[in-house]
Amino acid sequence: MISELFSVTVLIGILASGIRLATPYLYASIGETFGQRSGVLNLGVEGQMLLGAFAAFFVALTTGNLWFGVLAAMIVGALMGLLMAFVTVNLHAQQGISGIGFYLFGLGMSDLLFQKLMGTVETVKGFPPLKIPFLSNIPGVGEIFFNQNILVYGAYLLVPAAWFVLNKTTLGLKIRSVGENPDAADSLGVSVARVRYFTIILGGVLSGIAGASLSIALLNVFQQNMTSGLGFIAVALVYFGGWRPWGVLGGALLFSMVNSLQLWIQVLGIPIPSDIAVMMPYVLTILVLVATVSRVRAPTALTRPFERED
């Protein structure tokens, strides 16, 4: 039975779904990377994803337009981000605790809206695979990389884009300095509050898209608590990736590949208890996090509210 895993078709299948499954992690983790590089830990990613997933699904279902769904998810994420920014930047809330609050809010709110507005589980026809001309015809590689839906491509394009913004623009310089030494940034006329508002709202928008990628591109349903911890994994991946977009990509791929492998193990009926299989990616995350701890230093001002001394 195990040998079935090693047939070419199955391997291609595992890799292709691994690439696809990394999508929500990438959106959410890259968003979280921006937040953390500016010194804000947002543990509410999961809640933002749930609300984004619901908004996208509901709007897509009612309007019949998937892009309206994505837009709705972005708006909902932005509003959640705005609220989070107000609480952390203006009210100096303890970030870990307020993040958990936002998670619980998103969890409850998305379920409430689901019950009130829909009641039953429905499905939509999500984003279809978009074959890239020529490239998708390459045997194997084409199937794995170039026969995915548009949100998947978007997630991977986000990685170099995030790297570029963080490292090659004045905005990125501001973000990095605010996360390391907000006092220094402030003394040079950089508005710490404005930078953090920007990164937190951007994080919310990307978390919203992460949710949408689940509900209208990968799974094409909405269910209560459908993210089931995925948003927290996304936060862990930021640490794993050393606060760098390429590192985050590596972490997301490792995690989703293992996840894909365990899914295929179940599909093929290989006799490993499914609970054990489902645990694999999580156990791996813990092991890898422990192994890589303190490899890279966290932004110095992470979780530290900024207040001018007077």
Partner: protein, 527 residues
């Protein structure tokens, strides 16, 4: 020199291309904080081509005045004039736009960014949203060249020494077009060699027409570098004078408001038996490299042994090893002939060893405890402070009242949290706790670092009193003046080794300086 001379004659441009500031004048500046008049109708001015020193004890109002000039505070009363015209400076950005730069005592740098990134931060880029670090780097090299500041624009700030970081701060200010620099205690973090280099730069800048404000409480530096000096005390201006018409003694008296005794009377004390003895003691450091290498020394009753050395040569390890906070890797420590090697701090407390740690805020006390609680930290578990596990609050209170009075601790009450007191008063609490138990031996690590003149004077007197009482005192200090003023003998530590131990008579500045640099002197002096 030719280029700079040319710049002088070229109307009012500075070598950086910036227009000179002829004068800045602050008139009648008043700033109130709740319960404190931090600045009381203070006048202050500085002109192009001079260093004006601003001198005062901690809390005298120097920083408040300068933060007002730099737009960080807004004065309740008073006016600032730039080249004779009134200006309003509402924020640091305004100050920068007027050509005022400030080098903060705690550097405002982002360690994980490069020099060029730190300089470019917050400024518009010539490429719009994209950074233009290559152009910034070019300009940095240009500016650095004017004052011979060697700096690599691509180096990360965390890789730089403290002295180099300070140059980055200066370049940052020059890059932003500063013509006036406020230097807030710039020498506090520098080694003596770095101070000399820094003064060379300051001299050159003044010659070129910059206006410099030099904040300090180190008198010899003020006398050496400034053209004029203004002294503040308790928020009031005491006076302004040309530096050439004052002496260190005058300035000290002005600052403190009474006669200051620079060379306290040591008295003639007959030293007694050996109290503390180290025999070939070695230990590791936090970096895993050897911290101490076979250190041997003795301290007698009624003697102060000074430990001189450049920062980071094993002083911390020496103090911590004796205090039981660091394990030895070899050798023996004897306290009154008893082998106490690797004893726990509690056991050393029982044997009447006292320790005044270098990092008083971290190792010397608990910031969020009250004054009274901090006073009894070392002996809180014993009579009369506790019995059968219960604290004797009344005894604790009486005890701390007594110490507060005896050691002149300025605190609203014994219930005040330690963190709300000034550095000098915090050190007095540590001293009170460590000294009042009449210890047999005392390790005092950098006991006056960061303290103002009054508190420094007090701490030194207390250490001399302990010597008179018969305690054995080890004084670890990076301040050679302090070592020379207090010590009976001086040991020089270099890379974890004791280079030599000199008697007071033989411990000249020159000899100590050579030993501190690791140069072995020709002949040994019997201790």
């Amino acid at each position: 020199m030719g280029a700079q001379d040319g710049a002088m004659t070229d109307s009012n441009k500075l070598p950086s291309g910036q227009t000179r500031i002829d004068s800045i004048e602050m008139r009648g500046i008043t700033k109130r904080f709740p319960g404190v008049l931090a600045s009381d109708h203070v006048d202050f001015d500085v002109k192009s081509g001079e260093v004006h020193a601003l001198l005062g004890e901690n809390g005298a109002g120097k920083s408040t005045l300068m933060k007002i000039l730099y737009g960080m505070y807004h004065p309740d009363e008073g006016q600032i004039f730039l080249n004779g015209k009134p200006v309003s400076i509402a924020s640091p950005t305004d100050a920068i736009n007027h050509g005022i730069g400030m080098i903060h005592q705690h550097f405002m740098l982002v360690p994980t960014l490069t020099v060029a990134e730190n300089v470019a931060l917050g400024l518009p880029s010539s490429r719009g949203p994209l950074t233009d670090l290559d152009r910034v780097s070019k300009r940095i090299v240009e500016l650095a060249g004017i004052y011979g500041l060697k700096i690599d624009p691509d180096a990360y700030v965390w890789q730089l020494s403290v002295g180099q970081q300070q140059r980055v701060e200066i370049i940052k200010a020059l890059y932003r077009g500063a013509a006036l620099l406020i230097l807030d205690e710039p020498t506090a973090v520098l080694t003596p060699q770095e101070v000399d280099e820094f003064f060379v730069i300051m001299h050159q800048m003044v010659k070129d027409g910059y206006a410099l404000i030099f904040i300090s409480h180190k008198l010899h530096e003020v006398v050496e570098i400034s053209n004029r000096v203004t002294v503040l005390r308790n928020g009031k201006k005491i006076g302004t004078r040309p530096t050439s018409e004052t002496t260190k003694q005058d300035l000290a008296n002005w600052m403190v408001g009474r006669e200051v005794d620079f060379a306290p009377d040591r008295g003639n004390i007959q030293r007694g038996e050996v109290r503390l003895k180290l025999e070939q003691v070695s230990c590791g450091s936090d970096r895993g490299t050897p911290g101490l290498r076979e250190v041997s020394l003795e301290i007698h009753s009624g003697e102060i042994l000074g430990i001189a050395g450049v920062s980071g040569n094993g002083q911390r390890e020496l103090a911590e090893t004796i205090a039981g906070l660091r394990k030895t890797t070899g050798g023996h420590i004897y306290l009154e002939e008893k082998d106490v090697t690797n004893f726990a701090p509690g056991d050393l407390t029982e044997r009447m060893l006292s320790y005044i740690p270098e990092e008083r805020m971290r190792d010397g006390m608990i910031k969020d405890f009250t004054v009274a609680e901090n006073m009894i930290l070392r002996e809180h578990h014993k009579m009369p402070f506790s019995a059968s596990g219960f604290l004797k609050l009344k005894n604790i209170s009486t005890h701390s009242e007594k110490l507060i009075a005896q050691f002149h601790v300025k605190t609203p009450s014994q219930e005040t949290l330690a963190k709300n007191l000034s550095g000098g008063n915090i050190q007095k609490i540590v001293l009170a706790r460590e000294i009042s138990r009449n210890p047999r031996a005392i390790i005092a690590a950098q006991p006056t670092r960061g303290l103002d003149i009054g508190a420094t004077e007090y701490v030194r007197e207390q250490l001399l009193d302990q010597r008179k009482r018969g305690a054995a005192v080890m004084l670890i200090s990076e301040d050679l003046d302090e070592i020379l003023a207090l010590s009976d003998r001086v040991a020089v530590i270099y890379e974890g080794k004791i280079m030599d131990i000199l008697s007071r008579q033989n411990a000249t500045r020159e000899r100590l300086g050579l030993l501190m640099a690791g140069v072995q002197s020709g002949e040994k002096t019997p201790a």
